[in-house]
């Protein structure tokens, strides 16, 4: 699980180290939908039970999920998203939108999400400062830590 050499320090890599393992983001999808019981997760995600158990432990340890008792005697549990977990939902929605367009190509979409404004949610990533939609050609990286000044041995 440790990276080989000295990859770049990067919040994207950090985030993926926490939630980038197989099934983790699907767990979050289900939990955000309110389906936080073990057997629901197994069925809806299609993950092996042992792997799922490992992921749940990790997500709870990372503070993304909490494990709640919803019934003493018989003891039953339910996983819920913490604030940090809920704040990943926009990432999921953006990923869903990308998948809708580029993989399913707009046909036979299996699920839609409705926004409180009454319309179907189509997520758009915008710049907090100016409100414009974020597009690749409008971005410039500004390295701030070593590991970012070297882009590679030969590159400028």
């Amino acid at each position: 699980m440790a990276a080989t050499k000295d990859p770049r320090p990067c919040s994207i890599a950090d985030a993926l180290a926490l939630v980038g393992e197989k099934y983790s983001l699907l767990v979050l999808r289900e939990v955000c939908l309110g389906n936080g019981r073990f057997d629901q997760l197994v069925r809806n995600i299609g993950a092996p039970r042992d792997i799922l158990a490992a992921r749940l432990r990790r997500l709870v340890d990372a503070g993304i999920l909490t494990k709640r008792v919803y019934s003493e005697r018989p003891q039953r549990f339910e996983y819920r998203a913490t604030q940090a977990g809920l704040e990943l939902e926009p990432v999921l929605m953006t990923l869903k939108e990308w998948g809708d367009r580029h993989i399913r190509k707009g046909a036979d979409l299996p699920m839609a999400v409705e926004h409180i404004c009454g319309n179907e949610l189509v997520p758009v990533v915008t710049c907090r400062a100016c409100g414009e939609e974020v597009r690749h050609e409008d971005l410039t990286a500004r390295p701030q830590a070593p590991g970012w000044t070297r882009t590679g041995p030969t590159a400028a």
Copy 2:
């Protein structure tokens, strides 16, 4: 790589099946930054060379990257993002922002991105229809395909 039983049909799962393997999104990060050469990718990501080669093949096959010759004799290659690939960049930015806040907690951020408006980019996911920021409590799922009506055996 195939899912066990019959998980939900879902664009999030579809998207993750393509770009959710370890290193794939980091490859996209580097390629979006313009560091698309094999050895740069190895160094900046810290991935084993064979795994990286496998990921690159997959991403090219999926139409997310293209492999370009930037020098005949000696033959040298460079990977670039297609339009579909570039459209994943907002997802990466949103993930970066989450990592900045929840993992690095705002301290010593290794990289910033500047938006064309002149400010540092802080991505916000908004609703295309109303422009409001997307928050969990404003969303309602609307199942459209079988596999979404069953939330689990016991749930409503």
